[in-house]
Symmetry: C2
C-alpha cells in the first residue's frame, strides 16, 4: 500500500494506460505529452520502457491479434466438422473481444496511417480470411447455407461481433460475457426466427 | 457545361461536400476553413447558406434520420404480423443505409459533444427502441426466438446492419444494394445454418 508510484510502473501498466488514452483521443490525436500526463510519469520515464507511441500501439494490437489468432490453434478450431469448428471460433471471438476489450477496440479502430497500423490491418485481413475459409468449408460440407456469398456473410458476421465493442462494458451490470457469446452464436447460426 | 461554378452551388451541394469532409476528418476536426476549401467557395458564401458547421451537421443527420423514421410509416411496417413487419423494416434499413450512405455513416459516428449531436443520439435511441418493440411483439406472437434477450438481440442486429457503412461502396463492383439487403435478411432471420 505504501509502495511508491514509480515502483508500480511496469511496461504492462504503461501499456494499459496508453490503450485507454488511444481509445479516448484516437491514436493520431495522442501525443507523448498526453501519455505522460495520463500515466503520471515523465516522458523520459516512458522512453525508458518504449521507443515511442508507435511501439505502444504495436504492443497493444499484438495483444489483441495474439488473442484472436490463438483461437485458431485451439483444438476445437482444428478438429471436427467445419461448421462445429466455425461455431467454436465465433464463440471464442466474442470471448476474446470481451476479455481483451480495450485492446480489440483499438485494433478495430486502426486506420493505416503508420507502418504499424498497416501491418495490423494486414493481420486482421489474414484472420478474416482464415474464418472465411472455415465458412467456405462448412458450406462445402452442406452445413451452412449457400445462398449468401461467403465474403459477404463473413463481413456481416464480423460486423455483428465487432459491434460489441461499442456497448459492452465488463462491469456494467448488463449482459454478461457468456450471455453475449450465447446470443451471438444463436443469432449467427440460427437467426431470429423461431424454428420450433 | 459552361455554367460558372458558383451558380451550381445550392444548399444541397454544400451539404454533400460538408458530409464528405465530416466523414473524412471527423466533425470535431472540421473547421469552416476546411469546408470552404473543399467546397471551393469562400467562408462568407457558406455563411450565406448556413449559420455554421453545426447547422450542416443537423441537416445531414436529419436527412439520415428522416430516411430511417420514414420506414416506420410505410404500410408494410405498420400492417401485418410483427415478424413480417420486422423483416420489412430490417430490409428497408439496409436499403436506406446504402442509398444514403454518407449521411447514415455520419449519423453513426456522432459522439455527443454538441447539442445537435446529443439530439441525434437521442433520435437514434428512439429509433432503436421502436425496432426493439417490434422484435418484442414478434416474440410475443411466437415467431421470433425468446432465448436471446430483446435488447441484446436488437443491439446485435443493429451492429450487423450498421457495420455495412464500413465496407459498402455503391459503385465498387462488389455486392449490390439488393445482394446486401437479401444477405442481411437471410442471416438475421435464418442464420448461417443450412435448414434444409
Amino acid at each position: 500500500m505504501t509502495t511508491a508510484r514509480r515502483d508500480t510502473y511496469t511496461p504492462q501498466t504503461l501499456l494499459s494506460v496508453a490503450v485507454r488514452v488511444f481509445n479516448e483521443r484516437g491514436y493520431d490525436g495522442t501525443s507523448m505529452e498526453h501519455l505522460s500526463k495520463a500515466a503520471g510519469i515523465s516522458k523520459s520515464s516512458i522512453y525508458h520502457h518504449v521507443a515511442g507511441k508507435e511501439e505502444l500501439l504495436r504492443r497493444a494490437v499484438t495483444r489483441a491479434l495474439d488473442g484472436l489468432f490463438g483461437i485458431l490453434d485451439e483444438e476445437h478450431a482444428r478438429v471436427g466438422g467445419a461448421a462445429e469448428r466455425l461455431e467454436y471460433v465465433v464463440r471464442r471471438m466474442v470471448e476474446v473481444l470481451t476479455a481483451e476489450l480495450p485492446y480489440v477496440t483499438l485494433l478495430l479502430r486502426v486506420r493505416g496511417n503508420t507502418g504499424t497500423e498497416r501491418w495490423a490491418l494486414e493481420r486482421r485481413r489474414t484472420f478474416d480470411h482464415r474464418v472465411a475459409e472455415l465458412l467456405k468449408a462448412a458450406a462445402a460440407e452442406g452445413d451452412v447455407r449457400t445462398d449468401v456469398e461467403v465474403r459477404l456473410a463473413t463481413r456481416l458476421v464480423f460486423g455483428m461481433i465487432n459491434s460489441i465493442v461499442e456497448w459492452y462494458r465488463p462491469d456494467g451490470g448488463g449482459a454478461s460475457e457468456q450471455d453475449v457469446a450465447d446470443a451471438v452464436v444463436r443469432l449467427v447460426f440460427g437467426g431470429l426466427r423461431e424454428s420450433g
